[in-house]
Symmetry: C2
């Protein structure tokens, strides 16, 4: 896991110069690499608001908007007796999900986006609402095309 | 990325001897490691049925059942003109998601489960329906607790 968090500051790991390919092909091309989308796995520890469905929904929607994504649907479910919440935003550009474990002050958040969106822009929005004392972010390029001539 | 696929065969990467901790703590403990849940990232290439919403919904629900998970909600959305489909299952034990790029015969699938479920049991079900010519599976333990005495 690549930890992109640095002393609670957050740094973009690479250029956000995303260009969609043309025609009927919806993969993106970035610095000569072709892939389907960028998927961030976030681990928030010592976090707040993890049983608050209203705050969670607001966080996810704002995170999507900050990244330039279009929300198609929002689904949340709160569990009893733990108070944990599962939430998923379906986006025109993939999804954002959250699962919270309030008894551990922990949340697992995924921000998966394709197209011209920049999922890294979601991170400060999520941090601002959940206020993690510690976090880890790992980035995964999904559907990365391995060109034969790159070997 | 750890590639658990081996010549189209699929092998469990570790014991599925999952035990929930007791009381109000919903983290799991497996071989002395405490964590929130197991998250599989699947890359399916040269796959079929990627514009077929009925097949996709069936695949996700059967994958959840195979892993022992309880489905709370199913949401699917088909995109025009690409024919790509986004689908998410909310589970009592986290989620399964899929995003398809039919023009590339590619699907990005996530199987994230906590509790006593075994997400590895979802994989052959998904393979059987989408018939990928090539696949990659990476496993991520979410919310892994780093104990001070393990250093």
């Amino acid at each position: 896991m690549t930890d992109l968090a640095d002393d609670k500051g957050y740094h973009l790991s690479e250029s956000v110069d995303v260009q969609s390919t043309t025609g009927d092909d919806w993969f993106v091309s970035q610095k000569g690499v072709e892939f389907a989308g960028t998927h961030l796995l976030l681990e928030f520890w010592e976090a707040s608001q993890l049983s608050n469905e209203t705050a969670i929904e607001q966080a996810l929607v704002r995170a999507a908007e900050a990244a330039g994504a279009k929300v198609l649907d929002v689904r949340l479910h709160k569990f009893s007796p733990s108070g944990g919440v599962t939430g998923v935003l379906l986006l025109a550009e993939s999804h954002i999900s959250i699962h919270t474990w309030p008894e551990r002050s922990y949340a697992a958040i995924d921000v998966f986006m394709c197209g011209d969106c920049d999922p890294h822009l979601s991170v400060p929005v999520l941090e601002n609402i959940f206020r993690p004392g510690r976090m880890e972010v790992s980035e995964h390029k999904r559907g990365k095309v391995e060109h034969a001539d790159s070997f």
